[in-house]
């Protein structure tokens, strides 16, 4: 039998909220759902979204987690919370009381982060749940439509999901072609120095377009409406999740920083102290040969608090994402302390390239930044729409080559959406390469 019931949870929640309030945390109200491990895996497969359109990949995700859980390879995450107002969070029935308290305190941090971090400004937490529900209904409608059907819907979803994150990563509003064009016309009209003398206004797009799905939506006049709707569903979901990808380290760090602080302020029964510390250390322990975002994030906020005080911590959680935080805040001492190293795959083995000493730490730090959030995904943009309707893409090469076997499949997916030929230019081993 578990050592808690709903009333006990409510009592502890009151205490936690009071402490959080006192510290100045300002999150969305939280709505907890208590469920068993099976439902937990189910919810995890859909990123905690209470409703989500159907796609086989979520079935795959479920099978995977379920298998790993059953073979004991992985524990379930302690917390699952979504960025919405109120924030939906899940508590697992199987957990004991001290763990539920820890998780609730942890969720306080997440909710505060969702509400206050700059990256989340345009994620519409008030309406996200109904938006997902609505999307699900539309997808279902297309599946049930006898002139469309499951196979066609799946084909579009598969293809759109392949380029889900090929999107402007800096949260800028995408301008339509007409808007960009009128801007250029104005510039040409006020062109005193002849900068735009030979400017070709008929080129499409006028500027590189990083938002492939939106481009297909805007210029694919030949594409059926239901397909465009699916494309937009996938795109909007990506826009919603990108802030979380970009702030994984800070978000988890912030939540861990606060569960630690809050639990110290609570009057925890003596017998909970040891299990609590054990769980906390397990969450924020460094992973050998890997980067644990909980660990790195916790380390960062601890360091800021020690050096610059708690106010600066709040400031950091507001203005930074992972890349900017690491760029600005990590120094040689941190790299040495965490003993960071960079490695890569050679012909016969995987071996260490750089370590965090005087010569190496800057390179290691740079490699770290390249592996964080959206930087771990290649940038591909639309270069030109040729007259015959051929879409030309280019990979923004940053020293890392594309995996060709995957790139070929993705190009096939794009061409499936675009319903015409698609070409991709990239660089492989210092030579241009066309797919």
């Amino acid at each position: 039998m578990s050592d808690w019931n709903m009333n006990i949870l409510t009592e502890w929640d009151e205490k936690i909220c009071k402490v959080a309030d006192k510290f100045g945390l300002d999150g969305f109200p939280i709505s907890y759902e208590v469920c068993d491990y099976y439902d937990m895996i189910g919810n995890m497969s859909y990123h905690g979204m209470p409703t989500h359109y159907h796609h086989w990949s979520y079935g795959k995700a479920f099978e995977r987690t379920h298998l790993l859980y059953n073979t004991g390879l992985t524990g379930l995450p302690y917390e699952l919370i979504i960025n919405s107002n109120p924030s939906l969070a899940y508590l697992m029935k199987e957990n004991s009381l001290y763990l539920q308290i820890l998780i609730m305190a942890h969720c306080m941090g997440h909710s505060d982060f969702f509400k206050n971090n700059r990256c989340f400004e345009n994620t519409f937490p008030d309406t996200v749940v109904s938006k997902f529900r609505n999307a699900k209904k539309r997808v279902q409608k297309y599946i049930e439509d006898p002139s469309i059907g499951l196979d066609s819907v799946e084909s579009v979803l598969d293809s759109a999901r392949a380029i889900q994150f090929q999107i402007n990563r800096y949260d800028q509003k995408r301008l339509s072609h007409a808007e960009i064009k009128s801007d250029y016309i104005e510039r040409i009209n006020n062109d005193a120095h002849g900068d735009y003398e030979n400017f070709n206004l008929n080129k499409v797009p006028l500027e590189p377009d990083y938002d492939i799905l939106a481009f297909i939506d805007e210029f694919g006049t030949h594409i059926e409406e239901w397909k465009k709707d699916l494309i937009n569903i996938v795109r909007e979901e990506a826009l919603y999740f990108i802030p979380q990808i970009k702030t994984k380290i800070l978000n988890e760090g912030w939540a861990s920083f606060w569960h630690y602080k809050i639990l110290h302020e609570l009057d925890l029964p003596q017998e909970y102290h040891i299990p609590f510390l054990k769980s906390h250390n397990q969450v924020i322990r460094p992973h050998l040969g890997d980067i644990n975002p909980y660990h790195l994030g916790f380390h960062l906020f601890k360091k800021i608090e020690e050096n610059q005080g708690i106010e600066e911590c709040f400031f950091t959680r507001e203005i930074h994402d992972d890349v900017s935080a690491i760029r600005c805040l990590i120094d040689r001492k941190d790299c040495e302390e965490l003993n960071l190293f960079s490695y890569s795959s050679k012909k016969k083995s995987v071996s260490i390239d750089e370590i965090s000493d005087e010569d190496g730490w800057k390179k290691v730090k740079n490699d770290l930044i390249n592996n964080i959030g959206m930087s771990s995904m290649p940038v591909v943009f639309i270069k030109e729409l040729e007259h015959a309707g051929i879409l030309v893409l280019e990979h923004e090469h940053d020293g890392r080559d594309l995996e060709l076997s995957f790139a070929e499949e993705v190009v096939r997916h794009i061409s499936n959406l675009w319903e015409n030929e698609v070409r991709l230019f990239t660089i492989i081993e210092e030579d241009t390469w066309e797919i």
Partner: protein
């Protein structure tokens, strides 16, 4: 203040997506089945035993960076002594070849456990023995459904309206006797009136068939050649067992002499010596004369060899084959020529191979199949039995 809710499970929410995923895997099994067939470990297993087959996961493609020295990853190793160039993981042999499937990033494999019987179901669904004629002394059992009486319960399409109406009238008459029911009153159908036609499975004789498995086990048949021959026969064996309830199989293995052997011996026997294809054909002819008269039996012949027949035997083999071809529904000569020179062993040049000698016999009843690698087995097999690839 937060809100607490006890989650009520309305349904298993990922069930739909899981079954869709499973369908995709099944499809992948069917598509990639020849990789399984060419896997040594399943040859020689009986039908009940469960085998695990790796199925490549259904991938979700994205743009990703290749796994090479330009793509640096970062890790931490607090408290550990590390230095540049230190190897943290050795690659397995075979990983080196970057083009080979299996070295790609994010390769996922699922182990699917199925029995050979289930595998046969995937494999042989669309295949048939060609030209199965109806001959005397029927032995092969097919299945047919026949009507067999009535039942009170059943599915709607089998509702027998006539019987049902008769029942209703019968009941109406009865009730008119016992009570003084008015003729004008409505008298509806009752559940008990309903009668359904019942059908039963009837075993039905279709035809009878005997299949000759002939295999060259001479010295020139190297390990890998024998493996391919056995794989072929193994498939054939399970195909017959899965699709036809009653077929007879005669196993013959030969060098310069032929012998009828048991199933076990056939799949495991190792031998060496010279090659007279005619020896097997002669034995085959003898057995047909004694036990399987062509008037009443459908005869199928499969002969696996590497084609290195001794030249002085060619003419005799040719004559016998010509005769046997007339007796049989299908005569299939399978020649195994590994494309990898290391596996060829001592071997004749192509012009002197038996397939060249047999070439004039080739028609719809005499098939010559050449296998160059284990990957050929399945596509060729399907071709023989009328599958689409």
């Amino acid at each position: 203040m937060s809100i607490f809710k006890d989650h009520k499970r309305h349904s298993d929410r990922s069930a739909t997506d899981r079954s869709r995923h499973k369908k995709k895997i099944e499809y992948a099994i069917r598509e990639g089945i020849h990789h399984i067939v060419s896997d040594e470990s399943i040859i020689g297993q009986d039908g009940k035993k469960k085998i695990k087959i790796p199925v490549r996961g259904i991938r979700e493609y994205r743009f990703v960076f290749g796994d090479n020295p330009f793509n640096k990853k970062v890790g931490s190793a607090p408290g550990k002594n590390i230095k540049r160039g230190q190897v943290i993981r050795k690659k397995k042999q075979g990983d080196e070849d970057q083009n080979k499937p299996g070295s790609e990033p994010g390769e996922e494999y699922y182990e699917v456990e199925i029995t050979l019987e289930e595998l046969s179901h995937y494999l042989f669904d669309s295949l048939d023995l060609p030209d199965l004629e109806k001959k005397k002394f029927k032995n092969i059992v097919g299945e047919k459904y026949r009507r067999s009486g009535y039942r009170k319960k059943g599915i709607r399409p089998r509702l027998d309206k006539k019987q049902t109406l008769i029942n209703k009238i019968r009941r109406k008459k009865k009730s008119q006797i016992s009570t003084s029911l008015d003729e004008e009153n409505r008298f509806p159908f009752h559940q008990d009136d309903l009668k359904y036609r019942h059908i039963k499975e009837h075993p039905r004789d279709i035809a009878n068939a005997v299949i000759f498995f002939m295999m060259d086990v001479s010295g020139s048949m190297t390990q890998s050649k024998k493996f391919m021959a056995r794989s072929f026969f193994f498939l054939l064996y399970h195909f017959l067992r899965a699709r036809y309830n009653n077929t007879e199989i005669v196993f013959i293995s030969h060098t310069t002499e032929a012998r009828e052997v048991s199933e076990d011996e056939f799949f495991t026997r190792v031998n060496s010596g010279g090659t007279f294809l005619s020896s097997a054909l002669q034995l085959c002819q003898g057995i047909i004369q004694k036990r399987y008269h062509p008037k009443s039996w459908n005869i199928y012949m499969f002969h696996c060899s590497d084609g290195d027949n001794w030249p002085q035997d060619n003419e005799k083999s040719m004559t016998l084959s010509r005769e046997l071809k007339l007796l049989s529904q299908l005569y299939c000569y399978v020649e195994i020529i590994p494309s990898n020179p290391d596996e060829q062993g001592f071997s004749l040049i192509d012009d002197l191979k038996m397939s060249a000698t047999y070439a004039p016999l080739k028609d719809s009843k005499f098939k010559i199949v050449q296998l160059t690698s284990p990957d050929d087995i399945w596509p060729e097999f399907r071709r023989i039995f009328g599958g689409s690839t």
